[in-house]
């Protein structure tokens, strides 16, 4: 009968962890040249103002021929992300729709490559781009999330207006339940709403109260 002593387990596990760490470092080192080359390629195709934005904030905007603006960013947690800005009644641009894209999962493409592909595609043929994007999930919640990235989200009135417009234009394939949770989680994270809120209805009530005040 074999007895496994806790000490041996700890030593084995420690070795396992060290090996995993070494492998992760090797993978990262192997990918580093590809990441650098992708970034160089992206920067070479951006205009000066886009380069400045990318280097300072990790995102840049692209204007399609229709005049619609898109924000392209790389988020370490979800990967490349594209947001469309729609002009509100007050002439302020608001990010209302988010698109998530990725390269095939079996190949870890650098985010800079993916973003450059979509920059070129948006500039080249926005309609096709949207047809492709809308055939997949549109994450409405990211509009709110993105607004945090651009400037501090200080009022919920934007969300209430955005929500009523979004409800009419939502793609039926949207994952609404997930979206609601995202909205709440991120607003709570950014301390825009009290933690007691547990539903989108609560959130919208809170927004309406804010508007009436």
């Amino acid at each position: 009968m074999t007895h496994y002593l806790p000490r041996d387990d700890a030593v084995t596990y420690d070795r396992y962890l060290k090996r995993q760490e070494r492998l992760a470092q090797m993978r990262k080192a192997r990918r580093e040249p590809a990441l650098q080359r992708a970034e160089t390629l992206l920067l070479g195709c951006l205009e000066d103002y886009q380069v400045m934005s990318w280097e300072a904030r990790g995102w840049f905007t692209v204007t399609a021929e229709s005049g619609t603006r898109y924000m392209l960013c790389d988020r370490s947690d979800v990967g490349p992300l594209i947001l469309r800005f729609d002009r509100g009644n007050d002439d302020l641009f608001r990010a209302l729709t988010g698109f998530c894209f990725h390269a095939p999962h079996d190949e870890p493409w650098p985010a800079a490559d993916i973003l450059l592909t979509y920059k070129l595609w948006i500039e080249s043929d926005e309609e096709k781009f949207l047809a492709h994007a809308n055939a997949h999930t549109v994450h409405v919640s990211w509009a709110v999330w993105a607004q945090q990235e651009i400037e501090a989200f200080s009022t919920l009135s934007d969300l209430a207006q955005a929500s009523s417009q979004l409800c009419e234009s939502i793609n039926p394939r949207d994952r609404l339940v997930g979206a609601r949770l995202w909205v709440l989680a991120y607003l709570q994270f950014w301390k825009c709403v009290p933690k007691e809120m547990t539903s989108l209805a609560d959130l919208l009530d809170h927004a309406r109260e804010g508007n009436n005040a």
């Binding site: 590809a34 698109f99 390269a103 095939p104 870890p108 979509y118 948006i122 080249s124 997949h136 999930t137």
Partner: protein
């Protein structure tokens, strides 16, 4: 001189250059272009006008293009 950059997942992009009056170089670039398109990839010509740089999708190899990007395959998420 024309320049074509082929995006690559693991090694980064590869660059192929050609002189429009050198048929061998043009053929080599055209072959890489056609293979990329046949595999479902997208190709864009980078059009530089004054300070703007904009993409224009192309389906056929253009030997007169100054810069072509053979883009990464992407899908909605």
């Amino acid at each position: 001189m024309g320049r074509m950059q082929v995006m690559g997942a693991t090694t980064g992009d590869k660059e192929i250059t050609w002189l429009p009056d050198k048929p061998k170089q043009v053929d080599k670039a055209r072959k890489a272009f056609d293979e990329h398109i046949a595999s479902g990839g997208k190709a864009f010509k980078v059009v530089v006008e004054q300070v703007t740089k904009r993409g224009k999708e192309i389906k056929k190899f253009d030997p007169a293009a100054e810069r072509i990007i053979l883009a990464a395959p992407v899908a909605g998420g």
